[in-house]
């Protein structure tokens, strides 16, 4: 069944259009920066963006930061929200279940397909933005990339600038350099891979919420919008001081923790918490989706 769901995913035009759009955003940004030579000043704008004129190789990180807040979660929510509700409204759900495909099995296959979609999107963004970075942004200075943007409002890299080697460990520092410990190409690859997997996992919470809503309604768009509404609430509460008490449990609380992969050494605390909170969301909402779907009348 998983193979069937993957086949449906790759044979669907929507999959490739949405991935294309996700990849187009960083390309557009890169073109503007390359033409004007106006990168945001360090500490402002999207993460890593201030550095990309100097370090084209770093553009994948900047690109991931660009697509993370809106494009990626919207695409994942649309795919996940469509998974059961779309089949229900098209009438194909009843034929799958009568084939028979067990309801639990179907739900798992759908989740696997959604995760695959998120992986595809993240990989596509990384690959295309690497090409973009190398081809149209700053001259690649190969291995010597000193990267340590600080905190949740990350700044960027100022290669060669002075600074304490330990400053990168202090969240909140706007610009930090680790001139003593530049990242080798291998390290950079490792960290980009780490960031990619963290961002993919960060999408699982949205995916699980959308999948759950998808079992509640026959409207795919309703399920997608519902899960996005939950994300918007979460993003607002994350910045609200009055909501400090619930912040550790919000699905978007640790979304930016992947930036910690670019510290030297890697700051694992928030990364681990980010993985953990996504796991909790997946378990809770998948269980709810299963409980609802397994007992529900299929009348469409």
């Amino acid at each position: 069944m998983i193979a069937v769901e993957l086949f449906k995913l790759v044979r669907r035009l929507r999959t490739w259009i949405s991935i294309g759009l996700i990849c187009a955003l960083p390309l557009v940004v890169a073109i503007f920066i390359a033409v004007t030579h106006l990168a945001p000043p360090p500490g402002q704008g999207s993460a890593f963006l201030s550095a990309v004129l100097d370090e084209g190789q770093l553009y994948p990180a900047a690109a991931l930061a660009l697509v993370l807040p809106v494009f990626l979660p919207v695409a994942v929510a649309v795919v996940a929200g469509d998974s059961i509700a779309g089949e229900a409204s098209a009438g194909t759900l009843r034929y799958l279940l009568a084939r028979p495909v067990g309801r639990t099995k179907l739900l798992v296959a759908k989740l696997v397909a959604v995760i695959t979609f998120a992986v595809l999107a993240v990989v596509a963004v990384t690959v295309t933005s690497y090409a973009t970075g190398v081809l149209i942004l700053g001259p690649s200075r190969a291995a010597a990339v000193g990267t340590t943007p600080g905190g949740l409002a990350p700044g960027s890299i100022a290669p060669g600038a002075g600074g304490s080697p330990t400053a990168g460990l202090q969240p909140g520092a706007a610009i930090t350099s680790l001139s003593g410990t530049p990242l080798t190409t291998l390290q950079l690859i490792e960290r980009v891979l780490g960031a990619m997997s963290f961002i993919t996992v960060s999408m699982l919470g949205v995916a699980a919420i959308a999948l759950f809503l998808s079992t509640l309604t026959n409207s795919a768009i309703g399920a997608a919008l519902g899960s996005l509404a939950a994300l918007v609430v979460s993003e607002i509460l994350v910045t609200l001081n009055a909501a400090t008490a619930v912040q550790p449990y919000l699905p978007t609380r640790y979304w930016l923790a992947w930036i910690d992969f670019f510290r030297q050494p890697i700051l694992w605390r928030d990364i681990q918490r980010g993985f953990a909170i996504q796991a909790v969301y997946v378990v809770v909402f998948l269980a709810a989706a299963w409980a609802n779907f397994a007992t529900r009348d299929v009348t469409t």
Partner: protein
Amino acid sequence: MITTQDLTKRFGHVEAVRDVSLDVREGDRYGLLGPNGSGKSTLVRMLLGLVYATSGSISVLGEPVPRHVGRVLPEIGALIEEPAAYPHLSGRANLRLLDAAGPGSGGGRRTRRRRVDAALEQVGLAGIDRRPVRAYSLGMRQRLGLAAALVRRPRLLILDEPTNGLDPRGIRDIRDLLTGLNAEGVTVFLSSHLLPEVSALCTRIGVLDSGKLVLQEQLASLQEPTGRVLISTDDPERAVATLDGLVERRDGADLVVRSTDPAALNARLVAAGVPVRSLAVQRRSLEEIVLDVTSAGSDQFGVPA
């Protein structure tokens, strides 16, 4: 093959199916009749484990449903209301997908391909090309839906409105196909609101009215001769005189005569010099049978042109 006991389904306050005790036997061509909204589709969905009963029990192919529905569904081919397919894929790709989604691979790639092709041929779609299903006509979609039901060579076919959207030739093709499969041992259970279709195809009928099964019987025994003979003659006056007392009704040249022996009746008329144009044993039509047992709402029964 299918038995239900006091099966009831409520959606909120609406009782869609009430105390239905269905009995479909092996080898039957069973027609479930009822107007739109009488509960046919809900009943079919319950048999397939898609909708859960409020009370009562279901047994299909000897297994309790929905508890062991996973065991019986592989042996059932189903058409549940309209056919549905992924519109951007071709008909063949749709069938392969559905076939692959089922339990067990059911053989290698080549076996599966052959199985899909055979099903397409059975429903008259052998020549379909790579066009996506969204370009199909209603009739082609219906045929594709039937092909999907046939792919795994089921022992039992559960078909909801199988000839929906087909032209007269298509209806005839499907009737022949179902009769042929039935002769090979496949039990056919179909629901319809089209009386002529059921009349031409089925050996046994059930009638649903507002969720209740108001009749379930062999069609042949429902259509036993009524003890009357219909006669059409150019000389009705003399016929009435000859058959004094036996004529129940006269409508121009047509007579309804009480008799259980049409041959004797004919001999008598011929002997008296009455020119008989036609003479037929009266049987109740399916329409009369159904209208007899259903209540006022049954005016929704459709009789196609």
